[in-house]
Amino acid sequence: MKKNNRASLSGAQKFSLVRREAIYTGLALIGLIIFWLVAGFGTASVDVKIFHLPLWAVLGTVGVWIVAILISALLSQKLFTDMDLEGDDDGK
């Protein structure tokens, strides 16, 4: 579900949403750290090479970058909500 449509929100709703988005971001960070560990150290003993590079070096660098891009896209395009930053939409 795409959630970044501009909604009419009260000030309290905006702050609640922003809090939730910060939690999503924190969870995304934890996910990326786990991927970074598994992709790099986790595959360091695997004897596979891609373009003359060991697998861990590819997954731990370019792989982490691609996952970070996907995470940013997921957060910003799907999980984050557009909102008016100027005052309460309900006029409070």
Partner: protein, 496 residues
């Protein structure tokens, strides 16, 4: 004959740089002209909250990426190998974290409070002028350290590549950055940062192309390295990359960077949430490209330089030597714009925040409290003069560079994170956070951090940021549970 050839070479090297610096100054003059008639404080310190997604992404990345990312970092990658790239890639978190966690909250609060600086928000959250003054002092102090490192790093690179003196480099780009920041303020900083980020990427692509060409192609370089330098292909680099470096880098250049005031203030400056969302994505793409690109190029420089880093005078000389060796003379001037752009974009970003800390957070607040009227013309004069004076002071320090300049840079980075991480994170997301907690955390944490740095004290060989950030958290929690809760009026604003 030889003399005129040297002069011609020097001119060829300088022309692209002079043109680039000229464009930077022209942008700032244009911005000042366009901003005429608008609220000066808001336009000068946060660009009237008009930044779009692309510029927001580029200015955040450019301020975050310093000259050491382009010189010391890839030099270390040359020495250590892919373990260094694996460590540096943690920086891909920097943009989506700071914008995702603080971006909207800071934007909403800034509009509610009519805040222009991060210190404005801290003052309102904890209702403390003393804490605000300490925060402003910490910003100015540590920023001066970081700016000095940027000046010195940039000028040394300039001297090594062009053959001109260190002082000439300092005057060329040092004075330029002070002038354009003083004239144009935040909006000019954001636009010039965008140009700088683009030039950084062009510089990386150019350097990579010529390194591959000079080394006989990718396959040739890598096949040779696999035999001659097997340590480059091992994550711990046969002991050169201990786990402690990985751990502390996650803190220093990854997680804790979300609280750097120069990054958080970007949350006050953008126009709308669509822009913020775009910036998160664009910023992550760009920061990853830069980090992987330049560090990978550092490793591939083995195809150009046959000795060890020590043979070339240390890791800081690897990239300058590679540029001079691999690139045609007509492109060298263009190639060093990238690293110099990293230097000046960081300086300008810090300079404008340091200036706002003095003018807005200290002087204007003091005037308002004492019912003293400050005319718009005086605010304008003071803002531009303060920016110029701070820049000039750092410029003078850089003329006689301290010998431990890179340590000072990292010291300043850790100090800012220790001071602001919990104060901003818990202050903006935890109702129980209060004045005593923030005060103890910012002062106590920073003092402990500085003391352990001065004494060289470490736990398990970890960087002192781990001690500073832990003490800062403990003190914040103690203060928050012992001290008085924030009043209802404040909580209603920050947690409606």
């Amino acid at each position: 004959m030889a003399s005129s050839l040297f002069e011609l070479r020097s001119l060829i090297l300088l022309l692209p740089l002079l043109a680039f610096m000229g464009v930077m100054v022209a942008i700032s003059v244009f911005v000042r002209h366009k901003q005429a008639g608008k609220n000066f404080v808001s336009s000068y310190f946060v660009g009237n909250r008009e930044l779009g997604g692309f510029v927001l992404a580029m200015t955040t990345v450019a301020t975050y990426s310093s000259v050491s990312s382009f010189v010391g970092g890839p030099g270390m990658a040359f020495q250590v190998g892919f373990g260094w790239v694996y460590m540096a890639v943690v920086q891909v978190t920097a943009i989506f974290l700071v914008l995702g966690i603080f971006g909207k909250r800071v934007a909403l609060l800034a509009r509610k409070l009519n805040a222009v600086t991060v210190v404005d928000i801290i003052r309102a959250r904890f209702k403390s002028d003393t804490l605000a003054a300490i925060a402003a002092f910490v910003i100015v102090l540590f920023f001066c350290g970081t700016m000095t490192a940027q000046f010195v790093g940039g000028a040394k690179l300039f001297a090594a590549v062009t053959g001109y003196s260190y002082e000439a480099g300092l005057i060329l780009f040092g004075l330029t950055v002070v002038i354009y920041t003083s004239i144009g303020g935040f909006r000019a900083v954001a636009l010039t940062d965008t140009c700088c980020a683009i030039m950084m990427m062009i510089g990386i692509v150019l350097l990579l192309k010529y390194v591959l060409q000079a080394g006989g192609g990718y396959e040739n370089i890598m096949t040779t390295l696999e035999v001659s330098n097997p340590e480059l292909f091992e994550p711990f680099s046969f002991g050169n990359m201990p786990w402690t470096i990985y751990f502390t880098q996650w803190l220093l250049v990854g997680i804790c960077t979300i609280a750097l005031p120069q990054s958080v203030v970007r949350g006050i400056s953008y126009k709308n949430t669509q822009g913020l969302h775009q910036a998160m994505l664009i910023g992550t793409i760009v920061v990853g490209f830069m980090n992987i690109g330049i560090n990978f190029t550092g490793i591939l420089a083995h195809g150009v330089l046959s000795g060890t880093a020590a043979d070339y005078g240390g890791v800081d000389n690897i990239i300058p030597t590679t540029i001079v060796t691999a690139m045609p003379v007509e492109l060298v001037g263009l190639a060093i714009i990238g690293p110099l752009a990293a230097s000046i974009s960081t300086i300008s970003g810090l300079l404008i925040v340091a200036s706002s800390a003095i003018v807005k957070d200290v002087y204007l607040h003091w005037s308002e409290k004492n019912n003293r009227t400050v005319t718009p013309a005086r605010v304008k004069f003071l803002s531009m003069a303060t920016t110029a004076i701070i820049g000039a002071a750092v410029f003078v320090i850089a003329l006689t560079p301290p010998s431990l300049i890179w340590l000072i840079n990292m010291f300043a980075f850790g100090g800012l994170e220790t001071a602001f991480f919990w104060t901003l994170l818990l202050g903006l997301f935890w109702k129980r956070a209060n004045k005593l907690g923030a005060m103890l955390s910012m002062t106590g944490g920073t003092i402990v951090y500085c003391a352990t740095q001065a004494a060289g004290f470490k736990i398990m060989g970890l960087h002192q940021i781990t001690i500073g950030i832990t003490c800062s958290l403990i003190l914040f929690l103690i203060g928050s549970y012992l001290g008085k809760r924030s009043d209802d009026e404040t909580l209603k604003i920050f947690f409606p």
